[in-house]
């Protein structure tokens, strides 16, 4: 017999459930149920019964509440509005009344209740009372409220965002919401745009190409779509936007619309373009610096060679003109190299204890020609006590020379330039004051910017690139110091003050710095070795090679000149040079390769110094040269002092 047959066969003989259960069971069930308040009211609303759930939820014991009117469970406001009576009236009329709202416990606390009141009638239909079932839904209510608050906060957050356009689209692409950022970026108010198709934000050509619809299709297909491109504001102005479209689905997976976030990247894009342009400019300056060094090298060589005498007075005057102007060009090229270093963050200082009076004296030596040309005098006040800073003597000299050169340039001829150095607390200050044309107040803050000239030079010639002060301030900062400017105004002079931290007391005693650069012209003869060296000059720039060779001959050396790597190697075999001055950038075999092959000769025991002479002066270029086998590295145009040193110095490389 199947289960169904069994069921069917027995159903007619089974007793009803109510027949099986003792009626007192229902009473117990009601009395002991704890999850619900279940009680009976008489037709006037007085409590007649009370169960465990009612006691738990409302806090009254049966003896405290039976006989009292059920309005005690309502707030004063609800009672004042006659709400309990209304509930009974509705339950009487409709048979049942359901409500949800705040109710009051015995202790006065509130709870969120779901209430069902059912009218109880006898067999004749007379009202005999009401059953009332109450559930405490406070937790659910709190959860819902928290959710509502959270949604409200999120809505306010989204609406308040101004940096991003955040809005919703329906599945067809019509705008359904709009935040403050969208209004700011796209230019439409909420009233203007809600309901419009989002393709309004695209250019005509993008619309013709179907891009808005492609974007939605991709978001629908892949969940989200990202894009970057031009969009159009309300007024027709274009802006560069990054857009993310996210498809929104309901729990059943139906597409409900899209969330769209748009970021206006116009400024960032402009900034990127500017950065790229600045980087290109840096590269250009680096190449330009190199290219300028090449023609400068033979000019400087020739001028130095001519210095050795034999010129008529008018020729000597012309030689001096070439000397001054080419030296000025060389300084500008050096400044440009420093710009490249600053912009690449590669400007470094090599610090050692150095006396501040030495630095001042060296700087004054350097600017002596400019001071002399303008007939300026220098008033000098140095600290009596030996004052030592931990710094790069060359860079500090360069810094002060910049300040002095500026002072000379912006002061009418016959001016007075005062240099005053003094100690104060843990610092030494060096102030350079002139009685020149001064600085406009609104330029004081800008004069340290690169390429800004705060005051027109008295003569255009020698105006410089407008980088000296920016570079000087950077150098001061690299030493842990500062550089400031002040001026009483136009034609009232200017004062620049350098502050540097004093070297720690334990620092080793500072030596006097090496002689000033301008004196390099004098020692050229004095420091030249008693006997000449055999020097091989290798440079594909014929002028550079020839003039350098001529200069070396004038200095008393035996010289061979070649213009390519292969010839250089042959000459090295035949001529047996002591020193090879070798250009790096040559066609065919470059200087690095020549140096590598020459280095092999050195290893075989031949005394030989290999010197790079190149337009590339960055630190990386020097490192690369050393790695290739060069003993030292000179930057074009070669400083005569450095050249003499290389030819006479026996330290650090094979040289007999």
């Amino acid at each position: 017999m199947s289960h169904e047959d069994h069921k069917r066969g027995h159903e007619p003989h089974e007793p009803a459930m109510s027949e099986l259960i003792d009626p007192s069971m229902f009473r117990y069930m009601v009395q002991q149920a704890r999850e619900y308040a279940l009680f009976v009211l008489d037709p006037q609303g007085r409590v007649m019964t009370w169960n465990a759930g009612a006691q738990r939820i409302k806090g009254y014991a049966p003896e405290e509440i039976v006989g009292r009117h059920f309005s005690v469970f309502y707030s004063m406001d609800a009672v004042a509005q006659d709400w309990p009576a209304y509930e009974l009236k509705m339950a009487t009329r409709e048979g049942r009344f359901e409500d949800e709202g705040w109710r009051v416990r015995k202790d006065g606390s509130r709870f969120w209740a779901n209430v069902v009141i059912t009218a109880l009638r006898d067999e004749e239909g007379r009202l005999i009372g009401f059953s009332k079932l109450t559930r405490d839904l406070s937790e659910r209510r709190q959860h819902e409220e928290a959710l509502l608050q959270s949604e409200e906060r999120f809505r306010l957050l989204v609406e308040g965002v101004v940096d991003y356009a955040i809005y919703m689209l329906d599945p067809d692409g019509a705008v359904t919401s709009w935040n403050a950022g969208a209004e700011r970026i796209n230019g439409y108010t909420r009233e203007e745009i809600v309901g419009s198709h989002f393709s309004r934000f695209y250019s005509d050509e993008d619309i013709d190409a179907g891009r808005p619809w492609q974007e939605l299709a991709r978001a629908r297909r892949e969940g989200r779509a990202e894009d970057e491109g031009w969009r159009v504001r309300k007024g027709g102005e274009r802006f560069w936007a990054r857009v993310v479209v996210t498809a929104l689905h309901d729990p059943e997976g139906r597409l409900r619309g899209f969330a769209k976030v748009t970021q206006d990247l116009t400024q960032m894009r402009q900034l990127q373009h500017l950065e790229k342009a600045a980087k290109n400019l840096q590269e250009f300056i680096a190449v330009l610096t190199h290219e300028l060094r090449n023609p400068l090298a033979p000019i400087r060589n020739a001028v130095e060679a001519l210095r050795q005498g034999g010129l008529r007075p008018e020729q000597e005057a012309m030689r001096q003109t070439i000397d001054r102007q080419s030296a000025f060009l060389a300084r500008m090229v050096d400044d440009m190299s420093d710009i490249v270093r600053v912009s690449r963050g590669k400007l470094t200082v090599v610090r050692a204890p150095v006396r501040i009076d030495t630095v001042v004296e060296r700087a004054l030596e350097t600017v002596a020609p400019a001071m002399s040309a303008h007939g300026h005098r220098v008033e000098l006040e140095l600290p009596e006590k030996e004052t030592v800073v931990n710094g790069d003597a060359d860079r500090l000299t360069q810094l002060l020379a910049n300040l002095l050169t500026n002072a000379a340039r912006y002061t009418p001829d016959g001016g007075l330039i005062a240099v005053r150095a003094w100690r104060e607390a843990d610092s030494v200050y060096v102030a350079v004051r002139d009685n020149g044309r001064g600085i406009e107040p609104d330029m004081i803050d800008r004069i340290f910017d690169m390429f800004v000239q705060g005051r027109a030079p008295l003569k255009r010639v020698g105006g410089g690139l407008g980088i000296g002060l920016g570079l000087s301030r950077r150098l001061a900062e690299l030493h842990g110091g500062s550089l400031t400017a002040r001026s009483e105004g136009e034609n009232r002079g200017a004062e620049f003050t350098l502050r540097l931290p004093l070297a720690a007391a334990a620092a080793p005693r500072a030596g006097r710095a090496r002689p000033a650069k301008s004196k390099a012209k004098e020692p050229a003869k004095a420091e030249a070795p008693a006997h000449g060296r055999k020097v091989l000059v290798v440079d594909d720039n014929v002028d550079a090679a020839t003039t350098l060779g001529e200069l070396l001959r004038v200095l008393g050396h035996e010289v061979r000149v070649t213009h390519d790597g292969a010839a250089a190697l042959q000459a090295a075999e035949a001529f047996l040079p002591d020193v090879v001055l070798l250009d790096i950038g040559m066609p065919g075999m470059d200087g690095y390769e020549v140096a590598r092959r020459l280095a092999a000769l050195k290893k075989a025991g031949r005394p030989l110094r290999i010197v790079a002479v190149t337009g590339w002066g960055q630190e990386a270029d020097r490192r690369q040269a050393v790695e290739a086998g060069f003993d030292t590295h000179l930057v074009k145009p070669v400083d005569l002092d450095a050249l003499v040193k290389v030819l006479s110095d026996r330290d650090g490389a094979l040289l007999h």
Binding site: E361, L364, A368, M371, S372, L380, E384, E522
Partner: protein, 65 residues
């Protein structure tokens, strides 16, 4: 007791670059003035370097030496 010696203010020391007409090189000399601008002392010669010039001025009283 008050000293009867006159008050001696420090001089203002100026260093002047001088261009040599024959070879174009720059040399230095110094002059010292009172604070009223009256000439007080001068080097009477030129020096090859600024450092030498300052050293000579020191010997003459610059910076109290």
């Amino acid at each position: 007791m008050v000293s009867g010696d006159p008050i001696r203010l420090p001089l203002r020391w100026q260093f002047i670059p001088v261009k040599d007409g024959s070879d174009g090189t720059i040399r230095w000399t110094w002059e010292a003035f009172t604070h009223t601008g009256e000439p007080a002392m001068k080097a009477e010669r030129v020096f090859e370097t600024f450092t030498e010039c300052v050293a000579h001025a020191r010997a003459a009283g610059y910076l109290g030496h």
